[in-house]
Structure formats: structure tokens, C-alpha cells
């Protein structure tokens, strides 16, 4: 397990020219609470430990999201299988524990909640998801796979990258504007994933702060209850700096 100094930005994708993103498995395993896939950038910070400090209405809304996720009601089983594989890939949820993004999206679409706008050349958001499910299979077939779910990781990656670039064509994609469909499904995917306290644990977000508020606003400061990042200093290499060499 390599030590990381987060003052350095070398782990960020834009700075790694051609290299794959830094491997999150180099981070420690989450020690307190849950993060998606247990990546522990803030290994001892569990935002749910703070739930007693939240106002009651907020606590109810957030805990419900964690504890009471309804089963799939909006999507059909084939749609759910395809979209589930797609969401796992675009959110890099390659193993448990996973935030149940598909179920959260399904619940929202089932309830009829929408965002207050629809592109003139696009169907309803729920229909967009259904069309995307069909379109992903179509795109996978163009790569020689029988459908999206059984495609290799490489084909899945290429299909998704083309989706993100607005470059899917044929069948569904001749009627469904690709870039707008990407923006609709990703908006919902990211809203579901980053509404979940497990994701807040992973990114070190302090979460709801009413009525307590925040007091330490300065550079490098955190509240006494906020989480420290892992490996701010290397416990071995900086022994000289800390004056503990040879002990």
C-alpha cells in the first residue's frame, strides 16, 4: 500500500497523461462506517455518526435514503439489468458495498418527480431511461456483443465513451439525441449517488449542519468532528522530519 501525500495532485486524472486514474485500492479500507467499495480516503470518518446533531426533518430524509430503499417498480427486469450494469460502470461501482443507484432512480421516476424541464426533442425522463437501455444493447451489438450486459469490459467502456462523446448512431440513437440523453441519465445517476451518506464518507463531506453550523472556515482547518484524510504524511519516510528517527 503506497503512501499518499494529498498536497500533491499527481493522483488526478488530468495530470496523468495517458495513465489510468490512480487505483483507489491503494487507499486504506474504510474503518468506520461504509463507503462505496470501502475506499478509505477518510477512513475514520462516518457522517452518520453525526446524525444526532442534525435537525429532525433532515435526519428523517437522509436516513430514509439509507435504510428504506424501495424495490424496483418503474423499470422492467430487462431494463433494470442493462441500466444496472451501465450505472455500475459509469460510477465505477465494481463490487459491493454499492450505493443502490438504480433503485434510487427507479423510486424517483416511479413517484413522478421530474426536474422541471424537458428538451423539446426529448421524451419524458423516464422514457429516456428506457430508450437508453435499448440503445446500449444496440450499441453493444454494433461491437459484436449480443447485448450490453454480456459485453466485455472493453466494449462496455467504448460504448459508454461514445455515449459521453455524443457519438452513438443507428437504431434508437437516430431518434434519441445522444448528448442530451447522456446529460439526463448522468444527472440522475450523480444526484442519486452523491445524495447518499456513504458517498459523503468517501469524499469527506461534512453533511447536514443545521442547527450546529460550521465554525472553522480557514485554509486547512476542520471541525473537531470532521474526518482526517488518510496518509497526510508518510508514517515511515518522514521520521527524520518528526525527530523520531532510530527509535
Amino acid at each position: 500500500m503506497a503512501a499518499r501525500d494529498f498536497r500533491d495532485a499527481g493522483h488526478l486524472p488530468n495530470l496523468r497523461e495517458g495513465k489510468p486514474p490512480a487505483d483507489p485500492d491503494e487507499l486504506p479500507r474504510q474503518r468506520n462506517g461504509v463507503t462505496p467499495q470501502m475506499h478509505g480516503r477518510y477512513p475514520d470518518f462516518n457522517v452518520l455518526d453525526e446524525a444526532d446533531h442534525w435537525d429532525e426533518v433532515t435526519r428523517r430524509v437522509v436516513l430514509e435514503r439509507v435504510e428504506r430503499v424501495p424495490e424496483i417498480r418503474y423499470f422492467t427486469t430487462p431494463e433494470a439489468i442493462t441500466l444496472g450494469a451501465f450505472l455500475n460502470a459509469v460510477l465505477a461501482q465494481d463490487r459491493e458495498p454499492r450505493i443502490p443507484v438504480l433503485k434510487l432512480i427507479d423510486a424517483k421516476l416511479f413517484s413522478g418527480k421530474r426536474e422541471g424541464y424537458r428538451y423539446a426533442d426529448m421524451p419524458d425522463d423516464g422514457v429516456t431511461f428506457r430508450r437508453v437501455a435499448v440503445g446500449l444493447d444496440a450499441a453493444a451489438r454494433q461491437h459484436g456483443s449480443s447485448d450490453f450486459i454480456s459485453a466485455s469490459d472493453e466494449v462496455k467502456h467504448n460504448v459508454i465513451q461514445a455515449f459521453a462523446d455524443g457519438e452513438l448512431h443507428g437504431e434508437v440513437w437516430d431518434e434519441l439525441p445522444c448528448s442530451k440523453a447522456w446529460s439526463v441519465v448522468m444527472r440522475e445517476a450523480l444526484s442519486a449517488f452523491y445524495s447518499h451518506p456513504w458517498a459523503w464518507n468517501e469524499i469527506g463531506f461534512g453533511g447536514p449542519a443545521y442547527p450546529r453550523g460550521y465554525a472553522r472556515l480557514g485554509v486547512g482547518q476542520r471541525e473537531n468532528w470532521e474526518g482526517a484524510p488518510a496518509f497526510e504524511r508518510d508514517p515511515v519516510a518522514d521520521t527524520h522530519e518528526r525527530g523520531v528517527e532510530g527509535t
Binding site: F6, R7, D8, A9, L12, P13, N14, L15, P21, A22, P24, H39, W54, D55, V57, T58, V61, V62, R65, A89, L91, A92, K113, R114, E115, G116, Y117, R118, Y119, A120, H157, I160, A164, M186, R187, L190, S191, F193, Y194, S195, E202, I203, G204, F205, G206, G207, A209, Y210, P211, R212, G213, Y214, L217, G218, V219, G220, Q221, R222, E226, P229
Partner: protein, 577 residues
């Protein structure tokens, strides 16, 4: 700085606004506005004025006129919010704050609505705005004359100045002395800024870009019965504290105290006219599924830039077959948004940008036209503090998904974000219409908004992004991420001096209907690079002054007959100041 400004600085925080007790009428122990004593008017009683919409324009207008003895009813489509019960410190849980019923967007650069710019409920979009309250500049009123673009206003900065000053006391606005536009100070001291703002500020200083703290409509210290800000960072999810200004806490309590009725959960479907006289007789509205009609001597529409045109266009009649006040085909035209690209910068230390209010620092150094840039008008720079969901969309917009997206997200605490507000020009093809084939739950055709940028707009946005990137680079950013987006809405029913090219005159009165007024941001002919909230309030404040001083025609003189009002006798309440 004038002597007057020095004296005001000495008295900072201790000045009580004249003729507005809202902050003192709130309860000490709960956040909800006391409504026990609110007047209730019968539908068939012809009130002096019905206002459609309880946001920045409608809320301010109601308070001013109620103070002058007008019988006012405000019909609001959304709920009468109780901050304790209705609002949460949570992004996804704040969905109900926004206008989320169907609307259609088109054009080559479609504008996302909903959470981005459209509120509902008492307080309007100011419930979820960041809190920035800058004035527009004097130049904004004459951009056609000065810069050959957009449209001149039929009024000048001088007409709004004292309304700005009064509103800055009422909200109240905190900030440093403001050197741009018409230089002025603020009644509350600037808020402390978070670490990220200090770093960005240092970058700007190296480039010779002047930065100031504020101006934000957030109390610095307690104000009446409104507590001080606790820097929890959820301004865009509605202020549970009551520290951030919105009409719900700044004007509605005083309006109620002076006899206005705020009737929530009422969706106005039509403004009715008398076919023979051409005068407005009242409004039809839906309440709990039932259609009703409120009679009124005059109507002020304050539904903002999408719903105001929609209501007028849906109010067809024999006399106005293409929509009320739309004989000249101007309703819905020149609707505007500001280009609001955001750039995030990455720094070695943790900055945790979710703390402190998103509005912290800003610069208006690039606000005015500079011919060397190759485009007209300019932009302002302001802090934005995206919470995790917004930050994820920012990362996505830079082209990252999957493992790369997760990696940037894990790095959240090292980032700080600045945004621009680019003045985009009013274009007649940018228009709100009704999508006749799509209806809402009440069977009313929904709005469609088409939006496309012009070349000047693109150049403006590109330079704004370049400038912010330079600030971050000068500050030592290790990486930057960009997102293109829009903010705010204005225009759509603009005021003007030419009846052929505008919807209302300089007194907000529809050219074609003598007792119909428009009292929201849709009347703005241009927008500057300022967040529009306080300007919309200032316009409504001026309109109220014109109406009560009877400067607008004699037909608007409020009748003085006994109203059929049901109003409980005075109750004892806590927290009266």
C-alpha cells in the same frame, strides 16, 4: 467616501429599516411566519389589487401597498413555507423548492430550468438563491446608446437608487464599500470569508484584479428576530436559519401585519377582462382542484420570466386573441439568462468549500464594455460553493466518468470554485411561448422557452472563463475543471418607451390594458452582470411608489369602501419588536 457614508458605517448593523417591521414580526422560537392575524378576503370582494406570485417582485409590492392601506391579495402557486418543517440541510431532499412541473426547452443553447433558476412558494426563487445582492450599474440603463447593443431602459439608475438603498436596509445587505458602478456602502459589515476565498483573492491580487467581500443579503449578526448566519453552506437549499433574505422573511410578515392576504397553493390560470371596456376584472385560479375567481380593481402579474408570459399568453379573449397585452407580439420575447460558467481550482491544502455561504467575494472589474476585448458589455466574478451533487455535475462536464469521476470526487475538499455572470444580450428570437400540445395537471398549456446565444455572448463567456482560470493559475492551482452553465432569468415582458417594441411602459403598466401591471424581473430590458433579485425588488418598490402617489392615472385610486374582511382580533404574540 462621503460624510453620509462614514456616519452610516458607524451605525452599521444598528440601523432599522423605515416602514418595514418584518424582521421584528417574526417569532423568536420558530422560523415560520406568523399568519394567525392574516386577513382573508372573499373571492367576490373586489380587492384593490391582486398580485400573482409572492416572490421578489410580488412580495415587495404587496408590503409597500399594504402599508399604504391598499387591500391586496397575493395568489401564490406554491406553498407557504415553514422553514422548520419543510426545509432540509440536504441537496436531493430540496427538490420541492423548485418549479418542477413540466416545461419544454429548445433553441440551439437550451436553458435548464427547475433547480437552476425556478422557484415556487412564498418567497419565490429568492428562497433558493445564493444571496448575492449587487446593484446594476448606471450604464445598464443605456446600453443601446453607449454600446449599440441591447435596449435602453425607459427609466434611469436615478429612479431606482433610493429603492436600492431602502432595500439594502431591509434585507439587510452585508458587504465592503462597493467601488463599482455607482459607488456605495452597505448597512451590514462584510462576512468572514473561508480559506478558498483567501487563496483566490491572492491570485486575483497578483493579476491586479480588485476583489471585494459581498454584497450578500445575509444578516451579519442577528437582525430583529432573525438569527445570525451559522455558515452551514446550504444557502441554495433554502435558509433554515432565517439569516438569508427572501421576501418570506423581509416583506411578507409586514405585508400581513398591514392587511395583505397571502393565499398560497393557488395556481392562477387566466387574467379575465371585460370585453367591452378592455379592463381587467380579476383572475381565475385553481385551489385544491377547484376553479375560482378573485375579483380585483387591478392585477399585477409577478410570476417571473417564464410564468408571467405563459399566463398572459394563456389569457386569450376576443379582444386579445393572441394573449393578453400581446397585440404587438412582444410577450415572451427577449427573455434572458446570464452565462454562468464555473471554474474550479485545486490546491494543496484542504479548503472544504461546502462551508460558509456560497456567496463570499466578487469582482465587477470586467462589468463594463472595454473595446479592446472585441465584444460589448462584460461579466462579474463571484464565489460559488457547489455541494457534492453539483460538484459531481461539474466534474462530469469536464469529461470525466467512471473511475476518473470518482477520483475527482474524492478530492472534493481540495477544490475551490469561482463563477462568472456574463451579460448575455436580449434577442427577440429568445422567447417564451406556450406548448399547446402539452398541458399541466390543471389542463393549462405549459411554457416553452427557446434560447440561443449570439456571437457577442460566446465571446463574453469565453473571456470570463479565461479570466477565472488565470486567477486560479496565479493563485497556484494544480489543476482546473470547467463547466458551462446559465444562471438567473429576466426579460420576457420588457418595459420600454415604444409601445410597438415593449409590453409595459415605464410604470409597468401594459400598453394595451390600463389596469394590468407586471411587477417582476420580466420587465427588465437588459440585465447587466448583476444577480437580479434586489433589482427586481427595487423595481417593485418603485412601482408601489408610483401607484400610491397616484402618478399612474386616476383610475387606480384605491376605493375606500368597507371590505368584507374576516380578520381575527389582535392576538398576543411573542417576538414583536
Amino acid at each position: 467616501m462621503s460624510l453620509g457614508h462614514r456616519l452610516r458605517t458607524l451605525a452599521r448593523g444598528g440601523l432599522r429599516p423605515p416602514e418595514n417591521d418584518s424582521a421584528f414580526l417574526l417569532d423568536v422560537h420558530r422560523r415560520a411566519v406568523p399568519t394567525e392575524r392574516m386577513a382573508r378576503y372573499d373571492d367576490d370582494y373586489s380587492v384593490d389589487l391582486v398580485i400573482v406570485g409572492a416572490g421578489a417582485g410580488g412580495g415587495t409590492l404587496a408590503q409597500r401597498l399594504a402599508r399604504r392601506g391598499w387591500k391586496v391579495v397575493v395568489l401564490e402557486k406554491g406553498p407557504f413555507w415553514d422553514p422548520d418543517e419543510d426545509w432540509v440541510s440536504d441537496e436531493a431532499g430540496s427538490h420541492k423548492l423548485y418549479w418542477t412541473e413540466e416545461r419544454v426547452i429548445g433553441g440551439s443553447d437550451p436553458v435548464e430550468l427547475g433547480k437552476n433558476n425556478s422557484g415556487h412558494g412564498v418567497g419565490g426563487s429568492m428562497i433558493h438563491y445564493a444571496g448575492y445582492c449587487p446593484r446594476v450599474h448606471p450604464s445598464d440603463f443605456e446600453v443601446r446608446t453607449r454600446d449599440g447593443v441591447g435596449e435602453d431602459w425607459p427609466i434611469s439608475y436615478r429612479d431606482l437608487k433610493r429603492h436600492y438603498e431602502r432595500l439594502e436596509l431591509e434585507l439587510p445587505v452585508s458587504g465592503e464599500y462597493w467601488p463599482w458602478g455607482d459607488p456605495h456602502g452597505y448597512p451590514h459589515s462584510p462576512h468572514p470569508v473561508a480559506g478558498g476565498a483567501e487563496i483566490a483573492w491572492e491570485g486575483a491580487r497578483k493579476l491586479g484584479i480588485e476583489i471585494k467581500v459581498g454584497p450578500v443579503g445575509i444578516t451579519n449578526g442577528s437582525f430583529g428576530n432573525r438569527p445570525h448566519c451559522i455558515y452551514r453552506g446550504f444557502c441554495l437549499q433554502a435558509c433554515k436559519v432565517n439569516a438569508k433574505a427572501s421576501p418570506l422573511v423581509t416583506h411578507i410578515p409586514d405585508a400581513i401585519e398591514h392587511g395583505a392576504e397571502i393565499r398560497a397553493n393557488c395556481m392562477v390560470s387566466r387574467v379575465e377582462i371585460d370585453e367591452s371596456s378592455g379592463r381587467v376584472t380579476g383572475v381565475r385560479y385553481f385551489r385544491e382542484g377547484q376553479e375560482r375567481f378573485q375579483r380585483a380593481d387591478a392585477v399585477a402579474v409577478a410570476g417571473y420570466s417564464i410564468e408571467t408570459p405563459r399566463l398572459l399568453l394563456n389569457s386569450t379573449s376576443k379582444r386579445f386573441p393572441h394573449g393578453l397585452a400581446n397585440g404587438n407580439d412582444q410577450v415572451g420575447r427577449c427573455v434572458m439568462v446570464q452565462g454562468a460558467p464555473q471554474i474550479a481550482g485545486r490546491f494543496p491544502d484542504e479548503l472544504r468549500m461546502y462551508k460558509a455561504p456560497p456567496p463570499e467575494i466578487s469582482s465587477e472589474q470586467f462589468y463594463e464594455t472595454d473595446e479592446t476585448r472585441g465584444f460589448a458589455r462584460g461579466f462579474s466574478i463571484q464565489t460559488v460553493g457547489p455541494l457534492p451533487i453539483d460538484w459531481a455535475r461539474h466534474v462530469l462536464a469536464d469529461g470525466h466518468w467512471g473511475p476518473a469521476l470518482r477520483e475527482y470526487m474524492r478530492d472534493y475538499n481540495h477544490w475551490y470554485t469561482l463563477g462568472a455572470l456574463s451579460e448575455l444580450l436580449p434577442l427577440p428570437e429568445n422567447r417564451v411561448t406556450v406548448a399547446s400540445d402539452v398541458t399541466d395537471g390543471n389542463g393549462l398549456p405549459v411554457a416553452r422557452m427557446d434560447y440561443s446565444q449570439c456571437e457577442n455572448d460566446r465571446k463574453n463567456i469565453a473571456m470570463a472563463k479565461r479570466t477565472i482560470r488565470e486567477i486560479f493559475e496565479a493563485a497556484g492551482a494544480q489543476d482546473t475543471l470547467a463547466i458551462d452553465r446559465y444562471a438567473h432569468l429576466v426579460g420576457g415582458c420588457r418595459m420600454g418607451s415604444d409601445p410597438e417594441r415593449s409590453v409595459v411602459d415605464s410604470d409597468h403598466r401594459a400598453w394595451e390594458v390600463p389596469n394590468l401591471f407586471i411587477a417582476d424581473g420580466s420587465v427588465m430590458p437588459t440585465q447587466g452582470s448583476a444577480n437580479p433579485a434586489i433589482t427586481i425588488m427595487a423595481l417593485a418598490s418603485r412601482l408601489a411608489e408610483r401607484l400610491t402617489a397616484k402618478r399612474i392615472g386616476s383610475s387606480q385610486a384605491p376605493p375606500r369602501r368597507r371590505p368584507s374582511v374576516r380578520r381575527p382580533q389582535a392576538l398576543t404574540r411573542s417576538g414583536g419588536g
